[in-house]
Symmetry: C2
Subunit: 253 residues, 2 copies
Amino acid sequence: MADDTLHGQMASDLRVLITSGELKPGSPLPSEAQLGEQYGVSRPTVRRALQTLEQEGLVSAHAGRGRVVRDRRAMVYRPQQEYEPRRSSTMDRFTTVLSEQGRQPSQSIEVAVENAGRMIAQRLGVPEGTPVVARKRVRFLDGEPFNINDTYHTLELAGGTAVMNPEDIPEGSNVVIERLIGREVRAVDEIYIRMPTPDETRRLKLSTGTPVGVHYCTGYTQDERVVRVEYFVIPGDRHVIVYDRVHPVETID
Amino acid sequence: MADDTLHGQMASDLRVLITSGELKPGSPLPSEAQLGEQYGVSRPTVRRALQTLEQEGLVSAHAGRGRVVRDRRAMVYRPQQEYEPRRSSTMDRFTTVLSEQGRQPSQSIEVAVENAGRMIAQRLGVPEGTPVVARKRVRFLDGEPFNINDTYHTLELAGGTAVMNPEDIPEGSNVVIERLIGREVRAVDEIYIRMPTPDETRRLKLSTGTPVGVHYCTGYTQDERVVRVEYFVIPGDRHVIVYDRVHPVETID
DNA sequence: AAGTGGTCTAGACCACGCC
DNA sequence: GCGTGGTCTAGACCACTTA
């Protein structure tokens, strides 16, 4: 428990101020110079302490402006709803839900045919490097990147259909795909927790110390054919992942 | 994309070596002195580059031994199975499953009556600070801490029962609780992704740069009474979270 | 212009692991 | 004993933000 390093003590002191609520989200921290004088240590030592807090996601730094306590509230992310039918013909489900909450949702859509990486190929059941259809979206909330949502289909299934259209699909891409291959009856979710790659950091404008959840969702028809593979990147500082489960009825032996 | 800092370039170079597989898990990295000479930079700059890779979870450092590429394989974690009945009367489900895989599972159990924190109190439906029964476990695999699993019940429900016994409960604590309050018919999972607290880092022996999933599971009876609140801490470098879902049968309007 | 964080250098001393 | 990473100092210069 005891941390006898100087930077560890400083980090510990500041952590208490933040987690106790004495320093609220948005509050500025003392500058590096001030903290150095206060503790009688050199600037690199102060920076080492602040770096710890940044890694823990408690603090974010802005050159020229200083450091502030981060807001750690999270939005609800429900994987189960990601395949629900859309409720409006002009807005998709993501847009509908958030508009109802008075937020400003938007998204960028980009469609490409690209060679499947290992994770996608395995799940689509094709060899690595096979060309596949990728429908890539970045969702924004109030102008800030919120999450990444890329949908993959085999070229055989989706090539030349409305899914290739890099715009909103009024009836929903789910419906288009269902007509082609049949209804999706079950799905498998896999969620990895890790630090973002530099590319993800850039696309989602993540601050240092923000972990991400990577969510792969693979959908199957009744006869076990793969309908779609979905790839989400969910910043840890903006989401809670929520599942509602009803236990199967079974006897305990 | 371009990173024109010295430490950014070094990190980028080393990252390619690791992600391409040229440096495999377990391989040693060059020492700080060697890298400094190779790039013609001072040691703090080398350390800055290596720190980035540690934060990304690609590398771990050991004083006196050097740095090695980390193993990033993950075990499957299925929240849905965490409430399944046990298959053996001498081993719980966690122990049973892993024994079958030839791993060496073990766990430490500790039972306490403690005052509920905000998250636990909200979910149990009691005021913050109310004394509750906490059954706290740390699960180990091959001697290394693997995850944290704390189960909470109201004192009213579990006080004085077998659940308070800080040892393995042969019939399973689920069964004991079911007799007291009735069958659990549904559960809500909440998964938070964040960096670990210093306490979690210590209990799970996490290396720097390892994010965690925090999984709260709240179980309900048919008449919506809370059966249990479960609190898991899942190191991101050791687990994949997996859900199997069957879509509800419904018509698309 | 003044203050902030971002980068980088050139040293120093220590604790740890291995031979 | 030697090499490793861990800690810390005392400077320097830069880019950025705010006033």
